[in-house]
Amino acid sequence: MKVQIDPGRCQGHGRCYDLAPGLFEEDDEGYGRVPGDGAVPPGQEQAARLAAANCPERAVVLTEEA
């Protein structure tokens, strides 16, 4: 599973880095950012889904891989 943030949609609500601090961080203006390549480590899939489901702007993009 991979996470990405669509910078065209993100408005810095910060729900992603509140709910999944291991996967997202805040930049200097409060916008969400994915450090590294966005690969979700085992055990953090639920946090990733929660972040995506709570982003008001629908800016968190999840890619499920087989």
């Binding site: 408005q11 609500h13 805040e26 200097d28 489901a53 709570n54 982003c55 008001p56 702007e57």
Partner: protein, 423 residues
Amino acid sequence: MTVDDRFTGGFRKQGPPAGTRNEIVTGPVSDWATDFSHLEPEWAADPYPIQDDLRARCPIAHTGRFGGGWLPTRYEDVAAIAYDTERFSSRSIIMSNYRPPAETAPVGATPPISSDPPFHHDARKLLLPAFTKKAVARREEATRAFCHSLVDALEGADVVDAARDYAQHIPIRVIADMLGFPPEDGPRFSRFVESALEGVNLPPEERMARMDELFDYLYDQIRDHVDNPRDDLTTYLVEAELYGHKLQPNHVAGTIALLLIAGIDTTWSAIGASLWHLAKTPADRERLVAEPDLLPTAMEELLRAYAPVTMARLVKEDMSWRGADMRADDWVLLSFPAANRDPEQFERAGEVVIDREVNRHVAFGLGIHRCVGSHLARMELRVALEVWLERIPVFGLADPAAVTWAAGQVRGPRTLPLRLGGA
């Protein structure tokens, strides 16, 4: 170096405001679908059944009051308008009986909330670093200590007004600290807030006089910061530059007015509404006392169900919008509270489910105008509730009929008598 004389003349030099005024209409609403008013007591007391009814049968209500306006009640419509800055302007975001002239755009009186693209982006960028989650976390300790001192002062009382004696003071103290204003001026701030947001249907002369009072105060504070710069937001804005120049004096004062007004009664309302809910819902209160880790989740649900803030837009040009025959300069009341209770978007939309995990609520708005203070508000709300629940785990409504709610675009309890301690 030249002297900074941007603020010496005061603000009245700019002359009386142009723009258009309409006849003020008050009194009972005949039909909410065709004559709505968010300033009438029925709406202030309980707007949700009205919104639910409109959503089911309308869903975009109209009014002839305020010179004409619309009220969408579905999540989908509220979101579409929030995103559509091409056709809906933010040049006034308080639905009133006065429309500022079109030339006010794209800056507006209180940038960046009153600004449209492209200026909006640059004015907002100036503020963002001061309001990140990391930046506001630095204020948490002082906020917590202040909340404790407020509870200390309640010691011994059986019944307290949690809106007036607790919720109100927290955002006032935090924003006064951030702006570098004297903490003892707090009581004046409540009056400024009331004038700006609840005084909408007052006669224009009185409304202007009250605004003058606010801006007189702000210019005094700004001049003091020009003479004695310090490490706070006011000095930051005095020194800030945009496009290679220092900011226009009305931009500095307008932004400070925005931070002061929008920073106070929104959070005051959110804290008060949360305590009101917990006071009347013992099961939720007991669960939060037993499971403090649930608070961040519960808080989002309380923000969804009792979202305090409604914004407004002005229609730019005549158009038919999703069946509504909108005309240039019609208001649109952008009800985030109504969007947050749309059953198309939320399961059990009308209930408070304090462990709701999926909660894409829009209490802080959507799109480019997302509340710049959302991280600050969340910190204040969390700390205020943590301290209260830790110190006063048992409380209830002393007199449900005595609770009063602010009317207008920011809704929350203004009188909230709570009985403290055992049943």
